[in-house]
């Protein structure tokens, strides 16, 4: 019988400043990026270190965050509806452009 309580673990890299802070979160196997982000925003955007950044992530509107899942921008996948798998890595940046 399949274990319905099985959870998946996702690594999130938060780029509020130069270096990412890594956090690991456990989610249900049917979780999508949207579910992950609501969990992240709820508790993890507000660490004291991150609040000192000139660009605190909690002040950035959702559409101005750039989310990269396993090296692909989520807009190239299914956006906030993108399904997650165990071991996925999501990087979170404020939007940057130019080069």
């Amino acid at each position: 019988m399949e274990d319905v309580n099985r959870q998946i673990t996702i690594t999130v890299k938060l780029f509020a400043g130069a270096f990412p802070e890594r956090i690991c979160l456990a989610l249900s196997p049917d979780a999508r990026v949207r579910d992950l982000m609501s969990k992240v925003k709820g508790k993890d955007f507000k660490s004291s270190k991150r609040e000192k950044s000139p660009l605190p992530l909690q002040d950035v509107a959702q559409e101005d965050l750039l989310l990269i899942l396993n090296g692909r921008p989520i807009q190239n996948l299914q956006g906030y509806d993108t399904p997650l798998e165990d071991g996925d890595v999501l990087a979170v940046f404020p939007v940057m452009a130019g080069g």
Binding site: K13, F15, G17, A18, F19, P20, P54, L55, V60, A61, E63, D64, L66, I68, L69, N70, G71, R72, P73, Q75, N76, L77, Q78, T82, P83, E85, G87, D88, V89, A91, F93, P94, V95, M96, A97, G98, G99
Partner: protein, 657 residues
């Protein structure tokens, strides 16, 4: 009636010493919008086919944007054009700062330098007073020393100085022209052309004013443009962190050119990023070009340690990859120091970094040894090796002399298969964009008349990461699903629109960060500002984009006249033949891929087959012959380039109908 123009074109012939200000034919300028566009027209008329780029027949044109000197946001750009010494083809390079606005305040929209001085000189322009002055004491000085010496000699710290360093004097084929220390007209070797004319500097001081034709209407359009530009959130990150803001993002995407484009990632890339420059205290202040509203330019200095006192503008994103990751290092102090050397010697950081990393890979593979290098150990990331090579290149000494012609010539002289990792096309080193993961960029780079580089056509919209970019792709292709970079579909359409828009942006003198990177200043707004400023009514967005296309076709025609064909529209060997590893072992072809996305490419490579498919569509769209890449008569005539078509026909270089 005022028209945003200063009203004069200044011809200076260094062979004869003739200085000839001429009234500007504004109607003719506006056919090509200005700056890059009118420069291209002058280049077509003044440089005979087959001319030696470093000979007196080549001309060096400084063209200000039509809106430069006004309050139009980001309108501080100037285009420097000539036949390029690295490629033997068309070359334009755009530069920011305040020099262009000053030239207009002095009363001139264009400066055309012809011939060659018998001995080193510099040009001094003070309003109506124009002098060719002796530069014997300036020759040999670096950019900083020469600029300071001119400021002191004139007793005027506000003089705007465009000058070359030792690299330009020594005709390094990627020598830059530096404007007031920090702003570089860098790519393709414009500094070598200036050096070949024995022209050390052009110093400008002006006291006039630029007036626009319909001030109220102009002001309204300007305010709208400013407001629209601030809508995109990246305006904020750009101010905080400059262009190197995006280093960590692009590394995360596996597309940050590292180890001479062998890899798209480097460990700890964050240490050479814009945010790190702020957090580690290197960033001292932020600066803007004339009329800029973003101020992405930064100024960094090292306060302690082995490179104490090193300072300069940037380092920009491109420099972080070219002199950092590309050379196998994330030592930011080293990059700041190497950047400083390039800026004071007057060299393009992109090409300088490219030749160094090519040499490092050649050293690793045993193709060159420390016997060739005079004992320099060219291991990846070796700071002494990087810094001493930069010095040698600029001075044209030692092993550096073999690199001073750029990576194509270096690989040809060394041989032994080293052409395969010479990351260049048309003779220009590719700028730091991983085109194997973004196919609009791949096409844009392949067809760029000056060589593979992003400052001709920025197709950021294809990434689909911003609402403005997605809306634009939907407008061009009819469907925002095409805002997806790893497909060949619709790339031709997306690239051509961006070509038109970028050309128009350059020509009116705005920065592409306001238009194709941030979408705030639309062609419609650009057209309104231009109409109100010049007092003309024929500009609306369609005619503006069409004028952009006219510029692009003229640039193309210049290359065709020089003998370029379809085979020149390609990419570096490595990118066409080596697959870039994916950013993660977790593929995106599982359930994460949207079911309705355009057909993705199978592998991250700019293969001949991929490129050919895009080129066919692109030439077709342009009305150029698919077999040769040459324009058809009808295409040129439709764009009002009848005489260009006639000349190509006489030379037997017009496409068959």
């Amino acid at each position: 009636m005022p028209s945003a123009f200063a009203g004069k074109l200044l011809h200076v012939n260094l062979t004869t010493g003739e200085i000839a200000p001429k009234p500007l034919n504004e109607e003719k300028v506006l056919k090509y919008l200005g700056a890059r566009g009118f420069n291209a027209r002058l280049l077509w008329e003044l440089v005979p086919p087959g001319a030696d780029p470093l000979g007196p027949e080549n001309v060096l044109i400084f063209g200000t944007g039509t809106l430069t000197g006004t309050s139009a946001p980001t309108s501080g750009r100037t285009t420097v054009s000539c036949k390029g010494p690295a490629t033997g083809l068309y070359l334009k390079t755009s530069v920011g700062g305040h020099w262009g606005a000053e030239l207009k305040f002095a009363g001139y929209d264009y400066l055309v330098i012809e011939g060659r001085a018998a001995k080193p000189v510099y040009l001094l322009i003070r309003d109506d007073l124009v002098e060719i002055r002796d530069a014997a004491e300036l020759w040999g000085k670096d950019v900083r020393e020469a600029t300071r010496a001119i400021e002191h000699a004139l007793g005027d710290p506000d003089v705007q100085v465009a000058c070359i360093g030792p690299a330009g004097e020594n005709r390094v084929l990627f020598a830059s022209i530096m404007m007031n220390y920090y702003n570089a007209a860098a790519r393709g070797g414009v500094g070598a052309v200036m050096g070949s004319k024995n022209l050390k500097a052009v110093a400008v001081r002006g006291h006039g004013k630029i007036r626009v034709a319909r001030p109220q209407e102009f002001r309204r359009a300007v305010m709208e443009a400013i407001e629209a530009s601030y809508q995109d959130f990246s305006a904020k990150t750009s101010y905080l962190y400059g262009t190197s803001a995006s280093v960590a993002v692009i590394n995360e995407l596996g597309s940050f050119p590292s180890f001479n484009f062998r890899s798209g990632r480097i460990d700890k890339a964050e240490k050479i990023s814009g945010p790190y420059l702020v957090e580690a205290g290197f960033l001292k202040r932020r600066m803007g070009c004339n009329a800029c509203i973003f101020s992405c330019h930064r100024y960094c200095e090292i306060d302690k340690g082995r490179f104490t006192g090193a300072y300069g503008g940037g380092p920009e994103y491109e420099t972080m990859s070219a002199l950092g990751a590309g050379c196998g290092t994330v030592d930011v102090e080293l990059v700041i120091k190497a950047n400083e050397l390039c800026n004071i010697y007057g060299m393009d950081t992109i090409s300088a970094g490219s030749v160094v990393q090519w040499a490092m890979e050649s050293f690793e593979k045993g193709v060159i040894t420390d016997k060739d290098t005079g004992g320099i150990k060219l291991q990846w990331g070796n700071p002494e090796a990087i810094l001493s090579l930069l010095e040698q290149i600029a001075r044209h000494k030692g092993f550096g002399a073999r690199l001073a012609g750029g990576v194509r010539r270096a690989a040809k002289s060394v041989g032994k298969g080293s052409e395969k990792w010479a990351v260049e096309s048309k003779g220009l080193e590719q700028s730091r964009v991983e085109t194997r993961t973004a196919f609009g960029y791949a096409l844009a780079f392949a067809v760029n008349p000056r060589g593979p580089d992003h400052l001709h056509t920025q197709v950021l919209a294809e990434f689909g990461t911003r609402p403005g970019g997605r809306a634009l792709v939907a407008k061009i292709t009819g469907d925002e699903r095409y805002a997806f970079p790893r497909t060949l579909e619709k790339r031709a359409d997306i690239v051509r629109w961006h070509e038109d828009c970028y050309a128009a942006t350059d020509a009116v003198g705005l920065c592409s960060f306001a238009t194709t990177a941030r979408y705030g200043v639309t062609p419609e707004l650009l057209a309104r500002m231009l109409s109100a400023a010049t007092g003309t009514d024929f500009f609306e967005s369609e005619s503006l984009l069409l004028a952009g296309r006219r510029i692009m076709n003229l640039e193309k025609a210049f290359n065709v006249r020089e003998g370029a064909t379809r085979k020149d529209d390609c990419l570096p060997d490595r990118l066409m033949n080596e697959i870039l590893p994916p950013p993660s072992t977790k593929g995106d072809d599982r359930s994460t891929a949207p079911p309705d996305r355009p057909e993705p490419v199978k592998e991250s490579i700019n293969s001949r087959a991929y490129l050919d498919r895009m080129l066919d569509e692109y030439y077709e769209l342009h009305g150029w012959d698919k077999a040769t890449g040459r324009p058809r008569r009808k295409t040129l005539v439709t764009l009002g380039l009848e005489d260009v078509a006639a000349e190509l026909e006489r030379a037997g270089k017009l496409a068959k109908e």
